[in-house]
């Protein structure tokens, strides 16, 4: 009987839980982690992009959680998301901090086709949209003010006149995002579209993957750490990126963050930990040990009301991780966000790593990303609802998550309250309506959701 079956059985017969726990406790003291066997592969290499939301990987390494699980992990920064994804696909990397859209896009074959799965969501929120000082001055005229400070959230409605002015002058209005299937691309598009600015369609079936069809704002790819430099050079007028690259713009005095993704969609799912399906099948125990270590790291990051964040920031500011200055990283990681220079506001949930079941790989999160891929034409034709569910289930692996979580509960490291009800969880969150445009998203009805969005594809194929 393997660990899963045993634990499931234990769950079914509540009277046996205590006995099972006692047995686990006993085996623990004698054999260490005997429930899930030793990792089949123990020397691993993980990739990441220099963003604060890679924190669970850095913390799991620095706090020795990987070693506790018998894993010897090397952590390596990657140049951009494409290099990172290719690294995971061809096996140079065993796993990586990924954009939620990457495993999904790889599985449906938008871009490089490969079977990538994710048993662990890394965080919620954590991104922002920044515009250059010049654009901010032009936008500011339209932004409502209160006590001399702009009223948040700042909608793209106020950017619209600026974009129109540029278009009237025949100048393209260019903005940067980090990858075609990145959260940032969808968030930036969501924000622009909610303000009536068309961000352009993709048409992969016609070989057009630039995403500029009918675009009023032209979005292009720039690797996160280069965003501030590109903005400063005047190549783009604004960007959507993860931290610390919005706060960096404030510190450098080259741009103004106008909105965080928390205000675009409250507690939106962000990065995931991606691995190839092949890896999880070839090394099932290793996979579970990885998830366990990451879960412990995520919990540490949010523990005691973010008490460990300053220490986490210290780790992240080291050159081998994010490497930006302590103050820049601390700004967003410790629950505040600086918009215009001096306009620092409380955003306690700017980075969420563990609260609100942030680490659970919800199918509904996957479905939302798929709806956005459809909305902007990355998926060229209409798909039935069932297709969305099938794809989500292929990529998101709450089953692996559940084994790791139960192990941690059995080890006494975490409690059942830290997780959603692992046996009853359907994987679909209740309908969410905290979007900037007030549209409600129900993961069980992807097509109906697409109908509700004003700008974006519905039934048609371009």
């Amino acid at each position: 009987m393997n660990a899963v079956q045993r634990l499931q059985k234990a769950q079914k017969k509540p009277s046996l839980i205590k006995i099972a726990l006692a047995v686990c406790g006993l085996t623990l003291t004698t054999f260490g982690h005997a429930e899930v066997g030793a990792p089949e592969k123990d020397e691993l290499k993980f990739g990441f992009i220099k963003l604060t939301d890679m924190a669970p990987i850095a913390v799991a390494y620095e706090k020795g959680y990987f070693e506790d699980e018998g894993l010897y992990v090397t952590v390596e920064a990657q140049a951009n998301w494409k290099v990172l994804l290719d690294g995971v696909i061809d096996g140079k990397l065993d796993g990586a901090h990924m954009l939620a859209g990457q495993p999904l896009a790889a599985t449906i074959g938008f871009g490089t086709k490969a079977d990538i799965v994710t048993p662990f969501s890394m965080d919620l929120n954590g991104n922002g949209i920044t515009v250059s000082n010049e654009i901010w001055e032009m936008m500011k005229e339209h932004v409502p003010m209160e006590n001399g400070k702009p009223v948040h959230p700042i909608k793209a409605d106020y950017l619209k006149p600026v974009v129109e002015k540029f278009r009237a002058e025949g100048k393209p209005f260019k903005m940067g995002m980090v990858f075609p299937v990145s959260t940032h691309n969808y968030e930036l598009r969501y924000w622009l579209a909610a303000g009536g600015i068309h961000p352009g369609y993709y048409a992969p079936h016609k070989g057009d993957t630039s995403g500029l069809l009918n675009a009023e704002a032209l979005l292009s790819v720039t690797p996160p750490p280069q965003m501030p430099a590109t903005l400063e050079a005047g190549t783009i007028y604004g960007y959507c990126v993860g931290e610390p690259w919005n706060q960096q713009a404030v510190f450098k005095g080259i741009g103004v963050p106008v909105i965080t993704d928390y205000e675009i969609w409250k507690n939106n799912p962000e990065k995931v930990f991606g691995m190839t399906k092949e890896f999880t099948e070839k090394y099932p125990n290793t996979t579970i040990h990885i998830v366990k270590a990451l879960l412990r790291a995520a919990k540490w990051l949010d523990e005691n009301n973010n008490a460990n964040r300053p220490e986490a920031v210290k780790i992240l500011s080291r050159p081998e991780y994010v490497g930006a200055d302590y103050d820049v990283i601390a700004n967003s990681m410790t629950g505040t966000f600086e918009y215009e220079k001096g306009d620092k506001r409380e955003v306690p949930d700017f980075n969420v790593f563990f609260r609100y079941f942030a680490t659970y790989p919800y199918y509904s999160d996957a479905v939302w990303y798929l709806t956005q891929m459809r909305r902007w034409g990355q998926i060229s034709e209409k798909k039935p609802d069932q297709w969305y569910f099938d794809m989500a289930k292929q990529v998101y692996r709450p089953d692996i998550y559940a084994i790791a979580a139960k192990e941690l509960i059995a080890d006494g490291v975490m409690s059942a309250a830290d997780f959603p009800d692992l046996d009853k969880e359907s994987g679909f969150r209740a309908p969410q309506s905290e979007f900037i445009d007030g549209v409600t998203y129900d993961g069980t009805q992807p097509n109906a959701y697409l109908e509700k969005l004003t700008i974006g594809l519905k039934d048609e194929t371009l």
């Binding site: 123990d42 020397e43 010897y72 290099v83 050159p319 081998e320 930006a324």
Partner: protein, 333 residues
């Protein structure tokens, strides 16, 4: 005066250095050192002056003082990393001992350190990569150059290829090399890292041409008298190459090798930067991406290190040439 003079006598009272000779020597040394020293001092002052007036988005541009501080912090970081490494191995040994205590037959092993590569590790990686690439290039280029120099026919047929590839920036090769290495170098237990081979072969590709061309020129311009001697003695061709061709062409071969090594070193840094392969180039790119307030200082340390290493590599080649060249009187510079 006698006391001073006594210093320069050995225990038997023999004069080692006459004071007048010493003064001469000092004067000579002074002349030789004064100008470079003055040059460096003026450069450092100018640098500090200019740096103070440049403010970048990452703060003030680092002057010599800040760069000196950065280099000290890099040394400190290196030492800290070594301590962490020692602790890492200690933890493994403890764990293994514990495992063995429970089960004497347990399979234990020590895994290599998983921490980051420090600045000094990156220097070593770069040096190792460049020497590997340069060595491979030299092994191909010198014989090829000799063949081209000896035979007009070989030269005529190879020349267009050399001339076409010579001006190609090695970075243009980089994507091709990367793809080829990952396609062709497949093994379960690889002796080299793929990234290492990519960088090394890129270096090889650009190290080839200066050596080939200079060797060819060196071989074609051998003194006619020497060739005639070889003819008169009816030397077999291998002996001809070994005792006439190579010794006469050594100065030109080395000119080629030095040019090759210099370009190889320059290219390697760019290749590492672009391909994110381990080495000094990656160090610089990582620091640029970090964009922290001491990034510029650390990049400057790397720049100086690259320069000094390039300089010493060239001196090293010169020393080797001095050793193996038959003409010890020749002035090398």
């Amino acid at each position: 005066m006698t006391e001073i003079a006594a210093i320069f006598r050995n225990e038997k009272g023999k004069i080692l250095f006459a004071p007048s000779q010493l003064i001469l020597l000092l004067r000579h040394l002074g002349k030789a050192l004064a100008l470079p020293f003055a040059g460096i001092v003026i450069f450092l002052m100018l640098w500090q002056g200019v740096a103070n007036n440049i403010t970048t988005s990452l703060g003030q541009f680092p002057g010599p003082v800040q760069v000196w501080d950065s280099s000290k912090s890099l040394v400190a970081e290196h030492q800290r990393e070594r301590e962490r490494e020692a602790a890492f191995y200690q933890r493994q040994e403890d764990r293994n001992a514990e495992k063995l205590a429970k089960d004497p037959l347990a399979d234990v092993k020590i895994r290599p350190y998983t921490g980051k590569a420090t600045f000094f590790d990156q220097i070593l990686t770069s040096l190792y990569t460049v020497s590997f690439g340069f060595l491979v290039a030299s092994i191909i280029a010198i014989p090829l150059g000799i063949a081209c120099g000896l035979s007009e026919k070989v030269y005529q047929s190879v020349n267009p290829i050399i001339q076409t590839f010579k001006p190609v920036s090695p970075l243009a090769w980089l994507p091709l090399v990367t793809i080829l290495v990952s396609a062709l170098y497949v093994s379960d237990d690889p002796m080299f890292e793929k990234s290492f081979l990519t960088s090394a072969f890129t270096v090889t590709l650009c190290c080839l041409w200066p050596t080939v061309i200079n060797t060819t020129v060196g071989v074609t311009s051998i003194d006619r008298d020497l060739i005639n001697v070889s003819r008169v003695l009816q030397l077999p061709s291998l002996v001809h190459v070994r005792s006439i061709v190579i010794p006469s062409a050594i100065p030109m071969i080395f000119t080629g090798l030095r040019l090759s090594l210099a370009t190889g070193w320059m290219v390697l840094i760019a290749a590492e930067m672009l391909a994110q392969n381990p080495g000094l180039g990656k160090f610089i790119w990582d620091e640029f991406q970090n964009g922290s307030s001491d990034s510029l200082g650390r990049i400057m340390v790397a720049v100086l290190a690259i320069g000094l290493i390039g300089f010493s590599l060239d001196r090293l080649m010169l020393a080797i040439q001095g050793r193996i060249s038959w003409d010890k009187q020749a002035i090398l510079r």
